[in-house]
């Protein structure tokens, strides 16, 4: 089972846990419909598309309503600490959460108590907390974009907001940033770096690069990084090893862009709709559940 942890920009949502479903483009968790614009709902929608296509629909979401005050994230952290030890999932993804080093440490302790250690993927705010806590190496994969890679490479920055200028200037030199992030132990075991050329990195070594097809408008579209993380997580949960899953996810995400032919004003939902066809074009035929 794939577990997805994140937030939804709805202050009244409270905590929401349960099986995630997709029906005709509508995403529901525990029976409640979510609007798919960007952020964790976009990650969830992409993962659900993969799961439906591959006939492996087991996705469980743990979400909190949070518009940035952090209250929802803290409630969710607390829930995770109490319930993760009893959870069984093969892949666990942490996404848009208020970065909080103390809570991050407690969640890692709860994960240690799980019967079987899941593949751990972190993106967005939880990745920031993981790096700042000095425990990046505990994760199987981070999925930074180039700006976030510069943050991982800056051993002094506690958040991308403080990435020093001389490192930000290097953002077109991904390999140097990757080397620097690993040198200071601020990278996960694997990285899937999202950029004009996506880089798949294992223990500091770039093992694959994906640069085609290229749809530059995707960089402007909120949620295209989230869909890539969702694709990666769902492919891992379907049994693919992490490196081939990352390569396949990068190709599929780019193919969605080529199929949808978006402008910088397009919503990410147009790309998510193209996921089944992208997977089929990449040699993954639809499989009945």
């Amino acid at each position: 089972m794939l577990g997805i942890v994140g937030t939804v920009p709805d202050a009244d949502l409270g905590l929401l846990h349960g099986p995630a479903r997709m029906d005709g483009g509508r995403v529901t968790v525990a029976g409640r419909e979510l609007e798919v614009q960007r952020g964790t709902p976009a990650l969830l929608a992409a993962a659900l598309q993969v799961a439906a296509h591959l006939g492996r629909p087991e996705i469980h979401a743990s979400l909190a309503g949070d518009t940035g005050r952090g209250d929802g994230s803290r409630h969710l952290y607390d829930w995770l600490c109490r319930h993760l030890p009893d959870c069984i999932c093969s892949v666990l993804v942490f996404h848009y959460l208020q970065p909080d080093v103390d809570w991050h440490g407690r969640v890692l302790l709860a994960i240690e108590q799980m019967t079987r250690p899941p593949v751990l993927i972190a993106d967005a705010g939880f990745m920031y907390a993981a790096k700042m806590s000095g425990q990046a190496g505990r994760y199987d994969c981070f999925t930074p974009d180039l700006g976030e890679l510069a943050f991982l490479a800056d051993e002094q920055a506690p958040h991308p907001f403080y990435t020093r200028g001389f490192i930000l200037h290097e953002s077109n030199r991904a390999d140097d940033l990757i080397e620097r992030a690993y040198r200071h132990d601020n990278a996960a075991i694997h990285l899937l770096v999202k950029g004009a050329t996506d880089a798949i990195v294992a223990r500091g070594r770039v093992v694959d690069r994906v640069d085609a097809p290229s749809t530059p408008a995707m960089e402007a579209i909120g949620g295209t990084g989230d869909t890539l993380t969702g694709l990666l997580a769902a492919l891992c949960a379907a049994g693919h090893d992490l490196v081939p899953a990352a390569s396949l996810a990068a190709r599929a995400n780019r193919l969605c862009g080529a199929l949808a032919r978006p402008t910088p004003a397009s919503p990410v939902s147009e790309l998510i709709a193209a996921i089944p066809r992208a997977l089929a074009d990449l040699g993954l035929p639809a499989t009945p559940a």
């Binding site: 939804v8 940035g68 967005a124 700006g147 976030e148 506690p158 990435t163 579209i221």
Partner: protein, 159 residues
């Protein structure tokens, strides 16, 4: 000065700068960092005046900490991408894209703090003149970075 929420730091900065005080928003010293923090740096000799003004405004700081070493500075570099009909500006990890024709915000991307999706819902569809400044409604460092990108794209489009 340390506050409970980043949103309070932004309000305090606006208030103190509006009254002409020489304050700067900076990163907290390592010993008091929690994850998504800003502090206000000010001349220690002005503590009494500033805390009084902030308390009167209902945003008293949680604590005042003397520092001797340099604090981390917020990002001050911008990257601009011209898509032809659209212009995208990035500050740190946040990107905002506007249509050149009517200066309407068409997309917001990047970031990792929970107010980003909410801020995007408030901004996308508005013009640069009518959109709320994320500096006033955001709560996190990503929200602050989006405010910087917003102000930069507005500057570029008005030039």
């Amino acid at each position: 000065m340390v506050f409970e929420q980043t949103g309070e730091v932004i309000r305090a900065e606006n208030l103190l700068r509006g009254e002409g005080w020489p304050v700067r928003v900076m990163g907290p010293p390592p010993e008091i960092r929690t994850g998504c923090d800003l502090v206000i740096e000010f001349p220690l000799i002005e503590e009494l005046h500033l805390v009084r003004a902030l308390t009167a405004a209902g945003i008293a700081p949680l604590q005042v900490v003397p520092v001797s070493g340099p604090l981390l500075a917020p990002v001050d570099l911008y990257q601009t991408t011209d898509f032809g009909d659209h212009l995208m500006v990035r500050a740190a990890n946040m990107k905002i894209t506007v249509a050149k024709g009517d200066l309407r915000i068409v997309n917001v991307s990047g970031g990792g703090c929970p107010d980003v999706p909410w801020l995007a819902s408030q901004l996308v569809g508005c013009t640069l003149d009518t959109a709320p400044n994320p500096r006033g409604i955001g709560h996190t460092l990503c929200g602050y970075a989006l405010a910087l990108a917003f102000e930069e794209v507005r500057r570029q489009c008005s030039a």
